[in-house]
Amino acid sequence: MAVRSIQPPKETIAQQLPKPWSYYVGISLRYLVLTLIGLILFTPFILAALGTFKTDAEITAFPPKLFPAEWLWGNWVRVWGTDIGNGGTFPRWLLNTAFLSVTVAILEVIFCSMAAYAFARMEFPGRDAVFNFMLATMMIPGAVTLIPAYVLMTKLHFINTYWSLIVPGAVSAGSIFMLTQFFKAIPKDLEEAAVIDGASHMEIYREVILPLARPALLTVFILQFQAMWNSFLQPLLYLNSADKYVLNVALSIFQQQFKAQWNLTLVGAMFNAIPVMILFFIFSKYYIEGVAYTGIKG
């Protein structure tokens, strides 16, 4: 994964000449459009965030007002204190989601980097066949594995345990593919020096490749964390007691329970969105390179 440094092209002679007024109009129009699009894309979040402070009556009043008449922090407190019985409390759901996301992301980093090392840096018969097999499995639509995986989970007694999400989530073809491409790009000389020193593959993997691949590993961690945090269908299928719910599933129940109390549902949505948003703003470079890379080369 080439870290793209974006260098503005050097000014050509034409650009050093005095510019016509149309040039400045064009430029300001461009920024206007950019700002407008940014605003439009953010509008749902701004409106929803403001909505969380509104009263029950205000939230569905027509015409809707932009700002709440009175800032009602109580909605956030109420949602935080949600308790639907059987241990189903809001902090618990948040904790479940965080636990699952972190666990799956760590396992992905370990197992996928191992497989990628074998694909990218080792030579053994059957390697390319296995790699092609992996590419083929990427074509299987999720809809096909949905039901049989559920049956398998019941057989393994995984239903309503976190194993049902952790075990299948521990590897993914997409992450392996991305890491393989990254590992291939690491120069061989470093490794050859280690081989001359008599290092084993395990040592090369741990001491040479992993430290060099830190940005790619971080990308896998972040993308998988986000994928688990945002997943809905699998947790909906596999986890069915109130104390095991993840936030997304709890939110869907919220919405049915609170009906017209959209202010409370929106608080729940914000609780779900804010952590990934923060993570995104801190690591946006890794996110964007990960998406661009898995997309293009995947």
Partner: protein, 416 residues
């Protein structure tokens, strides 16, 4: 260059090969055993013995078929080991290589490959976990298309009709918007990174969050109606608020009715996508376009800027440069985005489950939603065989479209 270690005797070579054969066959058979088409339920799953007894009762043909496959793979692996064994370096490489791959291989074989075999078998059976599977032949597949003859059973056909409209509208729009945003961001501007981050941020949140927010927007008293009524007021018109997610009127139906025509409800397939369905489409485009924008942006940054300079010298304006340089160079990414978009749109679920549950009048039913409903018995009995058959029909559709798009877009590429 093969150095043969004379210390390795023929017998150790053979025993290594035989051990590999049995290891492979045992692993594959255990995976097959886990995915054997038997009934589940607490009684059967109480212990390993009760489960094995059940396997023996119902799943022997399945295991037999897998055993043949396992033996073939085992033999291939054994031959490989036999071949590599005498050379110590290659032997070590072989063992280490597969050890590194083993977590991935085992998990994938159990949770992806094994379950697909199971699903394929079960799609020819009547199956509900709690009773043994009953062979019904192709009945599940023919049932899916019953709607062609019996309008009362149109559910699945309607869901296919819905997702086709969905893909047809969402894929081109989100691809087009993504290209537009990427080209805009790639132009000579300051704060490129800042705008890129801002544009992409909404896409990192979950579909559940976005759907909940949009459900609120789409209320009769929501912001969408508010914005439209404000826009209408500018022109002195009046907008009657509508309940977006509950409105079954179709696009084509609305157009026909505007001209005084009428589409009878028996011809539901002529009505086009409903207002509720288009509302979900809009929301989907909103969140996926920025993701694809990132892919296009990455591709654009790899384009050699001298191409544009040369074109500018030849007198090509921005518009011509876009059509003659940018777009042709983006073709591979366009193919990828269109394929990914189609795969995604044909499998919509989250939005439907949360926002409409398939309604109004089934105009937002999707195959995956029906598969989910049938498999869990949300309406009526659990019907996993039928659900699996539907999943395979959907998979064939997805493969077919991917193939078509690849042929079409790749052939066009050859022109350049």
């Amino acid at each position: 260059m093969k150095t043969v270690d004379v210390n390795v005797s023929q017998s150790s070579r053979i025993s290594a090969a035989v051990a590999t054969f049995f290891l492979i066959v045992i692993i594959l058979m255990v995976i097959a055993l886990l995915n054997a088409p038997t009934m589940g339920g607490p009684k059967v799953m109480a212990s390993v013995t009760t489960y094995l007894a059940e396997v023996q009762r119902t799943a022997l043909p399945f295991l037999g078929a897998v055993a043949v496959l396992a033996i073939v793979i085992g033999l291939l692996a054994a031959r490989m080991v036999y071949h590599e064994w005498p050379n110590p370096r290659r032997r070590l490489n072989l063992i280490t290589g597969y050890l590194f791959l083993s977590p991935y291989l085992i998990i994938t074989l159990i949770f992806t490959v094994g379950v697909v075999f199971f699903a394929f078998y079960i799609s020819f059976n009547q199956y509900d976990i709690f009773t043994p599977p009953q062979w019904v032949g192709a009945a599940n597949y023919t049932k899916a298309f019953q709607g062609l003859f019996d309008p009362a059973q149109k559910t699945f056909l309607q869901s296919i009709h819905n997702v086709l409209w969905y893909a047809l509208i969402v894929v081109p729009l989100q691809t087009g918007i993504a290209i537009f945003l990427a080209v805009l961001l790639n132009s000579r501007i300051q704060f490129k990174q800042f705008f890129r981050t801002i544009f992409y941020a909404p896409s990192v949140t979950s579909s559940v969050v976005i759907t909940l927010i949009f459900m609120w927007f789409y209320l009769k008293t929501g912001y969408i109606n508010f914005f439209i009524s404000k826009a209408f007021e500018l022109f002195g018109l009046h907008w009657e608020n509508i309940n977006w997610l509950g409105d079954p009127r179709g696009l084509i139906q609305l157009i026909v009715e505007a001209f005084g025509g009428r589409i009878p409800s028996a011809q539901w397939y002529l009505k086009g996508p409903s207002i509720a369905w288009m509302a979900i489409m809009f929301q989907n485009i909103f969140t996926t376009a920025p993701t694809f924008m990132i892919m296009f942006l990455a591709a654009l940054q790899d384009v050699n800027p001298t191409l544009y300079e040369a074109a500018a010298i030849d007198g090509a304006n921005n518009w011509q440069q876009f059509w003659k340089i940018t777009l042709p160079l983006l073709r591979p990414i366009i193919l990828l985005v269109v394929v990914l978009g189609t795969i995604g749109t044909l499998q919509v679920f989250d939005q439907v489950y949360l926002a409409t549950s398939g309604g109004p009048l089934g105009t937002s039913l999707t195959p995956v939603f029906i598969i989910f409903r049938e498999a869990l018995g949300v309406q009526g009995p659990i019907n996993m065989g039928y659900a699996s058959a539907l999943a395979f029909i959907l998979a064939v559709m997805i493969f077919f479209f991917t193939f078509l798009q690849r042929r079409f877009i790749e052939r066009e590429t050859e022109l350049y």
